[in-house]
């Protein structure tokens, strides 16, 4: 009980400090969207991640030539994936070939050199390969995230909101899809997708990946639709669509975002796994996963072949996670977990003072 009492002035203090921007704009009525946006932009890690991922996307997508149908937009990097320049031998440690020319060591002069990330076995520029791989991986990740996210949220919402027969039919569909062994089907499609391109592979993986999300959204809807604020909205005259998407969905957004970020992170891994097995993205096309799997035997001798694809996988996954974090916190007005009476009962017994 006491904690609640203490919380009130505390919230005031928090308002006066961190959220003064909102508290001071008293005269201006803010909509939910505006408040969420402001909260998101106050989340430092999320904003940094957003800036980083945007720069990565811009950097990666402008580096190489882009072909959109007949139009060809030239990239700023001198090599392309098809070029096979001479392999470099000079300065490489331990008799290896194609080592990176990038020099960022403190003291030494900064320089890119001809092949800043090094070269692969036959001399192709590794920077170009990594850029191309990152492009593929990013595209696959976003397509899978968007497709699964969209289908999962829509199916889950409808299922949970209406219940009854609609719910039964949709959930049996989910059951059916979950019995489909994704990796094998994807392998079969991947084999064919080698010809039609990784976009189709991504679309397909997206079409299979939404089931978990749909179940979660459904569960959220089932419990949220019994809340009194749903009745209150109905009494206020809200339509079913408005209740589902304006009142219930924002309450489930936290979990949805967490799952979607997991799906996106998982997408990179699925793509990596498929490419490793030789079914996902196939040579001469490259993805980050394929690069790593191609050079697995060279790990001890030419580690730089792992640094760069690994660096991009980690940065992208981290950024996605931080953005997810930021969004979740922005949608959740209670960023801090309240300590309830029940929590206290369950909590660890502490006899001494201190934390």
């Amino acid at each position: 009980m006491k904690i609640f009492g203490k919380k009130e002035p505390l919230t005031g203090e928090i308002l006066a400090g961190g959220e003064s921007a909102i508290a001071n704009k008293e005269t201006e009525g803010l909509s939910q969207g505006q408040i969420v946006r402001r909260r998101f932009f106050r989340h430092r890690a999320a904003v940094i991640a957003l800036v980083m991922i945007s720069s990565i996307v811009v950097f990666v997508f402008t580096a190489l030539d882009t072909k959109i149908g007949p139009i060809r937009i030239p990239g700023w990097w001198r090599w392309s994936v098809e070029d096979i320049p001479e392999l470099r031998y000079e300065d490489c440690p331990g008799g290896t070939v194609g080592c990176p020319t990038l020099s960022i060591r403190p003291g030494a002069e900064f320089g890119l050199g001809t092949h800043p990330f090094g070269q692969d076995d036959i001399g192709r520029d590794y920077f170009a390969l990594v850029m191309n791989g990152a492009r593929r991986s990013l595209m696959i990740m976003f397509v899978i995230g968007a497709v699964s996210g969209f289908i999962g949220v829509v199916v889950g919402s409808i299922s949970g909101f209406y219940g009854g027969a609609v719910d039964a039919v949709l959930m049996r569909l989910v059951d059916f899809l979950q019995t489909v062994p994704t990796i094998i089907i994807a392998a079969v499609i991947g084999k064919a997708a080698g010809k039609v391109g990784p976009l189709y592979l991504a679309l397909f993986l997206g079409l299979l990946g939404w089931t978990g999300l749909a179940r979660l959204v459904r569960a959220q809807f089932l419990s949220l639709r019994e809340m009194e604020f749903v009745d209150a909205a109905r009494v206020a005259g809200a339509s079913n669509i408005r209740i589902a998407f304006k009142h219930i969905l924002p309450n489930a957004v936290g979990q949805i975002i967490v799952i979607i970020t997991l799906i996106m992170a998982g997408a990179i891994l699925t793509e990596t796994a498929l490419s490793y097995l030789g079914f996902g993205v196939v040579a001469p096309d490259v993805s980050l996963g394929l690069l790593i799997s191609q050079f697995e035997s060279a790990f001890t001798t030419r580690p730089w072949l792992f640094w760069w694809p690994g660096f991009f996988i980690i940065s992208i996954a981290l950024c996605v996670n931080f953005i997810g974090d930021g969004l979740r916190d922005a949608f959740d007005p209670r960023q801090r977990r309240r300590i309830t009476k029940k929590d206290r009962l369950q909590a660890k017994v502490q006899t001494k003072a201190g934390v």
Partner: protein, 550 residues
């Protein structure tokens, strides 16, 4: 004196660690409690009374810091080792919690849970423990002990569950019983029974009881000594007689004034003449409401052949125990529940069997305030948007005019305009309920349905809330169906009162007719069970009620 005290608290402090600072929750508390006595700690939520109760046996979360001294039977508890604490918990100090549904484990039978407590503390075989559990269950008057012992918590009613929890608490004949709001979740009649039970057990077992409650009526019924807390500080301490009859501290006085007393408020004149009744705002004729069968659960008739009319400008109180169907009536009256037979008319429009579109139009004439302010406001919507939603959806205004209307509504319910961008969790319970009213009044309805709007509020907050509601009603002249289990609250507000039992309307009439000259037995029982915040009078009422029972 302290030698014979079962519980001795001296200079007890509790602080909570929040955001890198210690916030005091209990400050310098001193208390002595002897065997066979009842000490009550009274205060609003947030005053530190529950924290004290949990702190006694170090049951607080790990972000709490305690110092001072708590002695149970002369043994220091604060510095005790976990093993010592474990031995004392349940054995010497037993707890009864507010919500028996969450305090009992739903996976085990109540018999198992009592046996578990027994065998944790005594060297006892399963058979022996079972026999003892049976004894305990009969001791707390659970019906049919042989059967009850094998029941799961969900198979019992709220009152029975509370009895089961008391049986568990008494399992080891504890020297001290800590009862944390033991009757708050219960109906008045059940509450009276539980209090009788606790009083009887105290005399039989000579236990000391530390009673924690916000209900002055309960305190008057039980306590020998009273401690009034506010913001962690003990503001007043004394015998029941001193506190109730000669309160010294202004806060105690305020608290006593805020307690609604049955039959003490002035008469409210019905705003129309009996001979020339205007057209009713709400007309419920012969309504039956059924919850359809769900899987193996058979259909349940919640309300049978119900009749009620509400005329413009009057407040009708609908009273009954939980499960009597009063909330069902309220929700049906606004079209949230389908009606099986009969007719419900709002300002002449039929609700029963209306389509969504028709309902949408009818609902412009109505507003509803829900029971739980925490769940009736969308936690993800700033309250300004919640309040403005009915106006926006009715297409009356948007953007700037809407903003102004929201500000007016906030002014009306006496909330600062700056609150409109806050989320519900940033408001206190009373403030949230004001938001609920503002939303209900957004479309200036002819009929307001208030479903137990004060049951989640403290007395002081409740008093302010009721004042606000009466003020608004006098100004705006809407008709109101006020649903409550608390007769004293209804007494303050209502012009007329309707009493429900098991889905039936048992009595209906003028406020004074019902409260002063009830004709129905059930109504009489309901009225006699309401505790009065005056120890002497409460004793007389208690004896009268027991006589009535016999």
């Amino acid at each position: 004196m302290s030698k014979e005290n079962i519980l001795q608290i001296s200079d007890f402090n509790v602080d909570f660690w929040v955001d890198g600072a210690w916030y005091p929750a209990v400050i310098d508390m001193n208390l002595g409690l002897a065997a066979g006595k009842v000490t009550a700690i009274v205060g609003e939520s947030g005053s530190g009374k529950s924290t004290t109760a949990m702190g006694l046996m170090s049951l607080l979360a790990s972000n709490a810091r305690m110092n001072g001294s708590v002695k149970v039977k002369g043994e220091e508890m604060l510095a005790a080792k976990p093993s010592v604490l474990q031995r004392y918990r349940g054995r010497e100090v037993a707890y009864i919690f507010q919500e028996p549904m969450t305090a009992l484990n739903p996976l085990f039978t109540i018999g198992y849970q009592i046996v578990e407590t027994l065998r944790a503390h005594f060297d006892m075989g399963p058979k022996e423990a079972h026999t003892r559990a049976l004894e305990l269950i009969s001791l707390v008057d659970l019906p049919d002990p042989e059967n009850s012992i094998n029941k799961y918590p969900h198979q019992l009613s709220g009152g029975q569950r509370q009895r089961a929890m008391i049986a568990q608490a008494l399992a080891c004949d504890p020297a001290l019983l800590v009862a944390d709001e033991p009757t708050t979740a219960l109906d008045v009649t059940v509450q009276a029974e539980i209090l009788d039970l606790m009083r009887g057990l105290k005399d039989k077992l000579n236990s000391a009881i530390l009673l924690i409650t916000h209900d002055m009526g309960v305190v008057a019924d039980m306590a020998d000594e009273i401690l009034v807390m506010k913001d962690g500080i003990t503001v007043e301490k004394g015998t029941a007689d001193q506190i109730f009859n000669k309160p010294q501290h202004p806060y105690t006085q305020q608290l006593l004034v805020a307690v609604p007393k049955l039959g003490s408020s002035k008469k409210r004149d019905i705003p129309y003449k009996e001979s020339a009744k205007p057209a009713p705002v709400l007309k419920i004729t012969d309504v039956t409401i059924e919850y359809p069968k769900r899987g193996r659960q058979p259909a349940f008739t919640a309300v049978k052949n119900f009749n009620l009319e509400i005329y413009p400008g009057e407040i009708v109180g609908l009273v009954g125990e939980s499960g009597s169907g009063k909330t069902t009536v309220g929700r049906a009256a606004i079209g949230l529940l389908p009606v099986k037979s009969g007719s419900i008319q709002i300002v002449g429009n039929e609700i029963a069997g209306a389509t969504q579109k028709e309902l949408f139009k009818i609902r412009r004439h109505t507003g509803i305030v829900f029971q739980d302010p925490a769940s009736s406001l969308n936690p993800r919507l700033p309250i300004g948007e919640s309040i403005g939603e009915p106006i926006f959806l009715a297409g009356i205004a948007k953007n700037f005019p809407l903003e102004q209307m929201i500000e007016d509504l906030l002014d009306q319910v006496e909330l600062p305009r700056s609150y409109r961008n806050r989320y519900p969790h940033e408001l206190s319970g009373g403030q949230r309920q004001r938001v609920g009213i503002a939303r209900a009044l957004a479309l200036t309805p002819d009929l307001l349905i208030a479903d137990e709007p004060t049951s989640a509020l403290d007395v002081l907050v409740q008093a302010r809330f009721l004042e606000l509601l009466t003020g608004l009603q006098e100004k705006l002249k809407f008709a109101c169906l006020f649903i409550s289990h608390d007769l004293a609250v209804v007494d303050i507000l209502a012009h007329r009162i309707a009493v429900m039992q098991d889905g039936l309307l048992v009595e209906e009439g003028d406020r004074d007719a019902i409260l002063l000259h009830p004709k129905n037995d059930y109504t009489r029982r309901l009225i006699s069970a309401v505790p009065v915040p005056d120890p002497a009078e409460q004793r007389i009422r208690r004896e009268a009620r027991l006589a009535l029972k016999k």
